[in-house]
């Protein structure tokens, strides 16, 4: 947000006044550094910067050295003399009249040069700071595929995307959000492929945000989503550049935020939360099978404890007789109704999972084995829960780890508990009612105008090629129609490879 119209905002040209003004603003900041000197023993000047944000070597050699050793004539003028500009050996320099803007730029890591008698200041950009190296993303590890992940520096992130899309059509619009944090937020999209209406919507929603600081992209997610009261995520967060690039190519818009490696992608559908990046690199038959397995396990993760409760409480006739005997005998010794025992187990499992996040890595692994086996086994032997229930809870837990998106896992984990209550009170009928309620909710959700369950809900047969299965790359001629209508053709048709014909 610009405040360039404030009174007394412009530099006066009087070095003492300006310098004092800036020093007052940076009062009690121990990393604020300056050096006063004279150019050619005639003109007073001062150079200011924030220690830790600048490259000291370059400031010394490209800025200070030429200025200190300058021996030519300097003409008196209110504009910054051309001679002084010419001797500074940096590529990124900018003249600045406004005091406020200059202070902002110094806070971002620029170096400020003030010369007595000159109303312009010179901002020299020689930024350098410590940052994390590019490493494999912790939350989205793959077997095949690149191992680069986004880092906290937005310039590194934009360069990772540029290297993968070497086209001028890749637009990276930058805005600053957060009054105190002045976080740089970059909107990335492919001009000519992304729908202008979606880009416009993203721009308007981001410009609406008026907050003191943006610490992580998670803040932005909650400030711009369509339906904040839903448990289901409507914005995808990813650490992988290849995933962002793949989505940009389908017409979606990426939102990169400084100081966080998580990039947001909008608009998305439910099925994209279930797609893993690996599916696109492995062979299509294996990828399709694993996808189908994943969809099956959604139902397991959501419904398995509820089905167990419903079947053992209301519908015992559904179990084959032998299984019924073993389940019944396991339940003989348990004093609680199935709902209470299941709730106990599920809540303990969730506690174990959360505790596992905080444990130091050395004992983390051992605790999970100890927790699962010993506590489960001991609980069964003490008669607190039945053995089949331990199996049900562990399979549910494993199933809930199968999803590539952590926010979706969270949603499913949450929804499991109301389903268990419904199953305990109304059996399979209750499970069906709960399932229909969830389905009604999903059908109403939209992410930036795209229905959440496309292409299943407004049914589009050709888009199903990338939902439950993944057709081979030579068959993916067209982009998905929910976001890619503007430029539907991706590749030449009939690209299926054939073995070469041999001459006899």
């Amino acid at each position: 947000m610009n405040k360039t119209n404030q009174k007394g905002d412009l530099l006066t040209g009087n070095l003492q006044e300006d310098f004092q003004e800036i020093k007052n603003r940076f009062d009690r900041s121990s990393d604020f550094c300056y050096r006063e000197f004279e150019i050619n023993a005639a003109h007073k000047a001062v150079i200011l910067f924030i220690d830790g944000l600048v490259n000291m070597d370059r400031i010394d050699s490209n800025v200070l050295k030429p200025l200190l050793t300058y021996s030519g004539n300097v003409l008196q003028s209110e504009m910054l003399p051309k001679e002084i500009e010419d001797i500074i050996h940096s590529a990124a320099v900018k003249k600045e009249e406004s005091l406020h803007e200059a202070v902002d730029r110094v806070l971002s890591g620029d170096t400020l040069l003030l010369v007595d008698g000159v109303k312009h200041s010179l901002l020299i950009s020689e930024k350098s700071w410590e940052q994390r190296a590019i490493e494999e993303p912790a939350t989205e590890a793959v077997i095949y595929g690149p191992r680069e992940g986004f880092t906290e520096n937005i310039r590194t992130n934009t360069s990772l995307v540029r290297r993968r899309l070497k086209t001028a059509g890749l637009k990276l619009e930058s805005i600053k959000l957060g009054e105190l944090s002045q976080t740089e937020v970059v909107i990335a999209y492919l001009d000519g492929i992304a729908e202008q209406s979606i880009v416009e919507e993203v721009r308007s929603r981001l410009n609406r945000v008026s907050i003191d600081a943006i610490v992580d992209s998670g803040y932005i997610v909650e400030l711009i989503e369509d339906n904040p009261s839903s448990v289901f995520p409507q914005i995808l967060q990813t650490e992988r550049p290849d995933r962002l690039v793949g989505n940009l190519l389908e017409g979606r818009v990426g939102i990169m935020v400084d100081n966080t490696p998580f990039v947001l992608i909008v608009p998305i559908t439910f099925f994209q939360l279930m797609n893993a990046t690996e599916d696109y690199y492995e062979r299509y038959i294996l990828a399709s099978t694993i996808r189908c397995l994943r969809y099956f396990f959604i139902f397991v993760a959501l419904l398995f404890p509820s089905i167990y409760i419903a079947v053992t409480t209301f519908h015992q006739e559904l179990l084959p007789t032998n299984l019924l005997f073993s389940v019944a005998s396991a339940r003989e010794s348990v004093p609680f109704p199935v709902l209470i025992a299941a709730l106990l187990m599920e809540i303990s499992f969730e506690a174990l999972r959360e505790a596992g996040l905080r444990l130091p890595r050395a004992i983390g692994g051992t605790i999970s084995i100890v927790g699962a086996l010993v506590i489960g086994q001991a609980a069964v032997q003490a008669g607190i829960v039945g053995a089949p229930l331990v199996i049900v809870v562990s399979i549910t837990g494993i199933a809930s780890f199968m999803f590539p998106s952590y926010s979706l896992t969270g949603a499913i984990r949450l929804l499991r508990f109301p389903m268990m209550f419904l199953a305990a009170f109304l059996g399979l009928y209750g499970i069906l009612l709960g399932f229909f309620l969830i389905l009604s909710h999903l059908v109403r959700l939209r992410s930036f105008g795209v229905p959440y369950l496309s292409p299943l809900s407004p049914f589009n047969f050709s888009d199903l090629k990338d939902v439950f299965i993944r057709v081979p790359w030579w068959a993916m001629n067209k982009r998905p129609s929910d976001t890619g209508k503007k430029n539907p053709n991706r590749m030449r048709k009939l690209l299926r490879p054939h073995p070469p014909q041999r001459k006899k």
């Binding site: 209301f314 519908h315 006739e317 559904l318 084959p320 009170f425 109304l426 059996g427 399979l428 009928y429 209750g430 069906l432 009612l433 229909f436 309620l437 389905l439 009604s440 909710h441 059908v443 109403r444 229905p451 369950l453 299943l456 809900s457 407004p458 049914f459």
Partner: protein, 369 residues
Amino acid sequence: MNLEKISGLQLFYIMIGFEIGNTVIFATGADAKQDAWLAILIAMLGGLILMWVYVKLFQYYPDDTLIQMIPKIIGRYLAYPLILIYILYFIYLASTACRDFSELIVSTILTETPMVVVIGCFMVLMIYSLRGGAEVFGRMGEMVFPVYILVMAAMWLLMGVSLDQFDLKRLTPVLGEGIKPVVDAVFPYPSPSILVFPFGETILITMFFPFLNKKSNAKKTGMAVILVGGILLTVNAIVMISVLGPDIFKEEYFPLLSAARMVSIADFLERFDSLIILMMVAGVFFKVGGWTFGASIAIAQLFKLKSRESILLSLGVIITPFSIIHATNFVQFLENGKNFLGPYLNVPLQIVIPVLLLGIAFLRKKFQS
């Protein structure tokens, strides 16, 4: 009032679920014994004629639901009582459908649960879904109905292939008792009549026609609903009579349940009746939803209200107790259906009045032009 748009396919799914959701469980056409399937086919032809009447009315007044058409055809003062009757009719039928399936659930799977809980929870789901409007309802249809049909088809296949009792000879002698029982089962007097339940109930489609995004689809969708529904019901009747025989088919309240109980795969997966009941709940979702939605649109259009959401809440509050109090037990419920609902409500409101309305509309158009 803002009308959301649904596609022809979505309307098709809603109406098919509406039409057969309830009916596959019951012994439709049982009075004709082994010719029940024939009775259904003949009733389907009658249903096609009725659908033609409804579609024609829509073509005379596009953008209008049935409720908006009536004042335009017979004048405002005659229209108000008729519309009120239709609203009460929709609410009554919604309650009947609720009572139907809750009797089934309470008598088979949730024996200790009070009926008000079963119906109450269902209406909560109903209100939540319908608050999204016709669009949400249509999308639910798109997602739920194909699964429903797949499961039904799998059931029929299993019954046909794995059961020893399956014997197509039970369908013979075709027309063994003459054509009279078949005709009796089709025509409204004496009830119960297949023409009226389920085919006549498709009058509800007139409340949904204005939501179509392409108005020219109305005729195709309507006819497809009757045709496909009729064929599915016929297949259902054939399979059930072949498994159970015409006499048991006639005596049972829920023949599909009895037939499903017999299915057993590899001595391992058996007792499928819970699955059938769940499927019926999925089907009844569209039936009760359809009637409730129709009633809410009718009330909104009669009183010229802007939003439908508050009406839905009050309808839910009315339908739940009404479904319990209108009949004290299942036998009385069936008697009500046969003696009161059939002759006095279904026939006039589904058949007589639409035909009259069409006639008057036709004459009006003729004298105007």
